[in-house]
């Protein structure tokens, strides 16, 4: 795996320079105070996005370090926040200290959480909001646990790249929710692939063949915006579609197996067969993406959310000296060929490891910044979606520089339009920004 590129992050680093040249401000250059290094000071955390994943991440943060205290929570809806709090209190009764005046509701709840004297924030809202939340968190000098994906559109990706660079400059920890990167068996397996255990990687096929996510029936009194927010994974402006929201895990594993190389272009086939009607929003239910690399490698990703079909979440990596199959669901991690191997070690909970490493870094005064690869993996997923929606072959540069921006006209619990399902051959990827 040495032929794909030189430094793994070369292309993205060039992008950083381009992005930050226009966006850097003096305020970004202040280093974060390392008040917690080596000490037992309380670490105050805030939760932004109180759904099932956010609640889970908060428990893992609480379990990661005995001095972590949850002090503020934010969500769009009071019922979601209180349900989360009800589950968190018994988990750590003495360290969940979120009085009513630190429970924030609404589109600006994230700002209020950031103002609540927190050291670390957990960003687990629907992904549309991530670029703005991440930017505000880094601007405010907070360490961040940032769930995947990091953005839903190209404009959001560029904004995240700015935040990644600012986090680096300010020595803030930025840990991503691409959880497989924190899974011991995956780390051991992909390290071997990157070290050449199957020779040069010539192709990767990753899969995320799953069943659909449920729906919340529309209720009287819900505005269109509230209905969409409560069913966010069905609306592309909120989720980025399921290839970006869910299957990005498996696209990240292409990125990992390819040792961080950036694809040159992608073509894709996708559509919507099982999901019908406005109640299921405007996302697809299946994608097949072909990523082409400069050295001729071709990588494939297939995903679907359909019931009663064969399920799979295996990654198949093909090299000149062997093959590797990684089934994270099984779990099994097997290399066949010249260097046969299978993972026999421990399986620590990867969701817990994410937080253990984040809080250990804060304690030790070291810095984790997952920004480079987490942003590229998100962009790869968006590239695949662009190619599927448009029916065109889309280059990396065309996708990365696209003016695509799915921000709604207003963040209000009122009307919000739902664009029609993208029709290949008719949908146009927005042109590059000037």
């Amino acid at each position: 795996m040495t032929e794909h590129n030189g430094p793994a992050d070369a292309i993205t680093r060039r992008e950083f320079v381009r992005v930050t040249a226009v966006g850097a401000t003096a305020g970004a250059l202040f280093a974060a105070p390392l008040v917690h290094a080596g000490g037992s000071d309380t670490i105050r955390i805030g939760l932004i996005g109180c759904g099932g994943r956010g609640t889970g991440a908060a428990t893992q943060a609480l379990d990661a370090d005995p001095a972590v205290v949850l002090v503020a929570m934010g969500d769009m809806f009071p019922d979601r926040l209180s349900a989360s709090l009800d589950r968190l209190r018994p988990h750590a009764p003495l360290r969940v200290k979120v009085p009513a005046d630190r429970q924030f509701i609404g589109f600006d709840a994230y700002r209020r959480v950031l103002e609540a004297d927190v050291d670390v924030v957990i960003l687990t809202t629907p992904p549309h909001f991530r670029p703005a939340h991440l930017a505000a968190a880094i601007d405010a000098g907070k360490h961040v646990f940032c769930e995947k994906p990091m953005a839903v559109d190209a404009t959001g990706v560029r904004k995240v790249l700015q935040s990644v660079e600012y986090a680096r400059q300010k020595q803030l920890n930025l840990v991503s929710g691409f959880c497989w990167r924190y899974s011991s068996p995956e780390r051991a397996t992909f390290q071997r692939i990157n070290d050449g255990a199957i020779g040069d990687v010539v192709s990767v096929h990753t899969t995320y063949h799953a069943s659909p996510i449920g729906q919340h029936a529309r209720r009287d009194g819900w505005s269109p915006m509230e209905w969409q927010l409560r069913n966010w994974w069905h609306f592309r402006w909120l989720s980025g579609d399921h290839i970006v929201e869910q299957a990005c895990h498996s696209i990240d594993k292409i990125n990992w197996a390819m040792n961080g190389a950036t694809p040159v272009r992608a073509s894709a086939i996708g559509g919507r067969l099982m999901r019908t009607g406005a109640e299921s929003g405007n996302v697809y239910d299946h994608f097949t993406v072909i990523y082409e690399y400069a050295d001729g490698a071709r990588c494939f990703h297939t995903c679907r959310q359909m019931p009663n079909c064969a399920y799979d979440n295996t990654d198949y990596v093909m090299g000149t000296a062997g093959t590797c199959a990684v089934n994270g669901w099984a779990p099994s991690h097997v290399i066949k060929g010249e260097n046969p191997w299978s993972y026999e070690g421990e399986h620590p909970n990867m969701y817990q490891v994410e937080h253990n490493e984040l809080f250990a870094a804060i304690r030790d005064g070291t810095t984790i910044n997952d920004g480079h690869w987490m942003t590229r993996s998100t962009m790869m997923a968006i590239l695949g979606r662009m190619a599927a929606y448009s029916g065109q072959t889309v280059s990396w540069d065309q996708a990365f520089n696209s003016a695509e921006d799915w921000t709604p006209p207003a963040y209000e619990l009122g009307e919000v339009q739902m664009p029609p399902v993208a029709m290949p051959g008719g949908y146009t990827v927005p042109a590059p920004v000037a």
Binding site: G52, R53, T55, G56, A57, A58, T59, S84, R87, L88, C179, T207, H209, A210, S211, G214, A310, Y311, D312, N313, T314, A325, N327, W329, A330, P331, S332, V334, S342, H347, N349, M350, Y351, Q352
Partner: protein, 255 residues
């Protein structure tokens, strides 16, 4: 949880008379699901009653009917008696296969709820095997130690996955996959749930009638959502179960 999880119905009926000391085929109305129950004589040394045990591990074909209410009577009548599992977070068949494959990743609560549901649907008394019943049936199988590979999907031949039930040879008792494939929930001699037989992940040494593993917190640690599911085990993609059906005399005591 003890073996009393089966439905306390006054409509309980024994297996068909023709099935006395013979296998019978169980069905679920309104579905194509059918599976074979094998008679096992009681252990005379301990005065145990005879019973029937599934020829194979319970497959998704039957479990999906329970989870998704796919039978003729659907959700409504089942829900009044038995709480149905939630939809799993990931695909609990782990991508190994579905139709004809052993149920995986179910909690003991899910397995027992299935038995209660099945009892309602069939008017027979289904439950998990007790540890003694399972081991007695397993011992009757007399799998030769030198030929385990003919009878079991295990680490040495399974290629890191389960396989369709009944695709290895039946043992001398007519049962498939008592060794390997999915390990199987039973009610332990201490009344606590336990898994027996070993699974596709185990080496030869981890298989057998005495292979016994108690559940641990590690079997359900990586469900990323809170609350965690009580029905599905995020990290135990090797645990399934088979059912037993109580005999005429046992059922008769309930009349």
């Amino acid at each position: 949880m003890l073996v009393t999880s089966c439905a306390q119905s006054d409509r309980i009926t024994a297996p068909p008379v023709s099935a006395a000391n013979a296998q019978f085929t169980e069905t679920i109305d309104g579905t194509a699901v059918a599976f074979t129950m094998i008679p096992v004589p009681g252990d005379p040394a301990h005065g145990d009653e005879p019973f029937w045990i599934g020829r194979t591990e319970v497959t998704w074909d039957a479990y999906d009917v329970f989870v998704y209410g796919l039978d003729a009577r659907g959700d409504d009548t089942a829900a009044d008696a038995v709480t149905q599992p939630s939809k799993p977070y990931i695909s609990m068949d782990r991508g190994f296969g579905h139709a004809g494959y052993a149920v995986l990743s179910v909690s003991d609560q899910g397995a027992m709820a299935f038995c209660a549901w099945l009892s309602r649907k069939t008017d027979r008394r289904y439950r998990l095997p007790t540890e003694a019943e399972w081991r007695f049936a397993c011992d009757l199988g007399r799998i030769p130690p030198a030929e385990v590979g003919r009878y079991a999907w295990y680490r040495g031949n399974a290629d890191f996955k389960t396989h369709a039930v009944g695709t290895r040879e039946a043992d001398a008792a007519g049962l498939h996959d008592m060794y390997g494939n999915a390990s199987e929930w039973c009610t332990g001699t201490d009344g606590l749930p336990v898994t027996l037989g070993g699974s596709y992940r185990d080496s030869m040494e981890g298989l057998g009638c005495a292979a016994r593993v108690s559940p641990s917190a590690a079997w359900n640690q990586s469900d990323p959502q809170i609350p965690r599911s009580v029905w599905w085990l995020a990290d135990a993609g090797f645990v399934g179960f088979r059912v037993v059906c109580e005999s005429d005399s046992q059922a008769g005591e309930q009349r």
